[in-house]
Symmetry: C7
Subunit: 94 residues, 7 copies
């Protein structure tokens, strides 16, 4: 079990080659190359200035695109995961 | 389907040459050269400090001008898109 | 039509030479040289932290002075415009 | 007429030599040398986070001391003015 | 007794070799290598802008993953501890 | 009269040698050397985010210690003063 | 008397050698070496954004650990003190 904290999410990254099947191709432009993956766990939400929790917009199973250089990589039970903040997620795709 | 998150929008960029037809010509001044494109999807809105969502000012189909160096490029179903935050948009044109 | 977004304004810049007629002469001091122009369109207003819109202080037709290095230049229907944030405007003159 | 915007003020600067008459002498210490001038116009006030206007503490005719490197110089109707934010003003003197 | 203040927690760090038993293996990628440890004490909570305390999401005994370069190391009663802010914690694992 | 604005105070600085009499000796450590002086005037208070004034903690006549590099020096009616923000004051001594 | 202002505290520092007696040993790791001392005076509290005072978590007589490079050193009545902000304190020990 990996339970992300606060406004974080745990992503299982999709390898670059599989990209064409699901439609997202990352151009080799000089700019940031966004990544694609699916959400395996979401945090309890973002804490506002006056201490309330706001649920995240994404949920388990969503396919998302996120900025390449964001997050922290970990390996758990032999699988690779990326822990990101919701603000690093760009869009849900489907 | 590309559903941008929060205060983001998905833009289909207009190639530089077509610019004269719709009226926007980007001067070659040293300054930032804004870009032009049309909005294909908008996020759920900006989250305020006290956790409320404020709808975005732009909607699908709007023609917009935005700062050149903003956003992240992706290719989806063979088409190029740019994912921007609303604060990168300068004006709606028509 | 150029409709600026949020707290932005669209300015038609006054060429430097015309300056003496309207009274504003920009000294060549080392400091920032403010610019002069007239407001052709204003945004819906500034969004406060709790999500309310505050109308801008300036309106169409106002003559304003603003900081030289602010804003983004665009050309629309053959005319030059500058898109600025209200916070870049220094004063209304008349 | 120069109507400063928001929390700004328009100052007519007092030349360095006149300083001794009004009492303020600016030491040549390495530090910032504050300047002296009188307020000729004040803005509508500072906008708080929740969108309210707070009137400025100074008014037309006040003699003030302010930080040397602050503000933007303009010349209007043949006279030199400095446009500053209220937060650049240090004290009212008299 | 070590009572962390505010939004801080005290962690007993797990040595790198023991990692495989509990499932977390830190890849040698160029990126930050998160660390693993267990929570031995938590602070009273985070202070919001309007002065309220928000309890921390983690509690004593939780196993957590956190960013490698965060926190301050101390030795107390012959044992090594790390004092971190809650925002440095990435996820609870189990 | 020097009336400091907002959260500022006017200090009359105590020369370094007099220090031993009042008890404060500034060590020549590499660190910042705090200064000592007495408060001759206080501003109307600090403006909070929602536009309220909070009175300053110090008052005329208080002896204070403050950070060495803070504030702006002026000379008024032949005397040296330092204009500081309250946040530059460390403690009241007596 | 040294009365710290706002969210500050006055600490009497414990010399490095005495450390083993009270339990805290500062490892010579490359990282920041926290310091240990006891609280001799606390400020009136932290001012929140809406102008309320929040009392500090520590009180006179508490033994605390804090970051090495924080605060300002002063000598008063022949004794060395360190003036810190509460946010520089890591934990209370005992």
């Amino acid at each position: 079990m990996i339970k992300p904290l606060g406004d974080r999410v745990v992503i299982e990254q999709v390898e670059q080659e599989e990209k064409t099947a699901s439609g997202i191709v990352l151009p080799d432009s000089a700019k940031e190359k966004p990544q694609e993956g699916s959400v395996v766990a979401v945090g309890t939400g973002r804490l506002t200035d006056n201490g309330e929790r706001v649920a995240l917009e994404v949920s388990e199973g969503d396919k998302v695109v996120y900025s390449k250089f964001a997050g922290t990589e970990i390996e758990y039970d032999g699988k690779q995961y990326l822990i990101l903040r919701e603000s690093d997620l760009l869009a849900v795709i489907g």
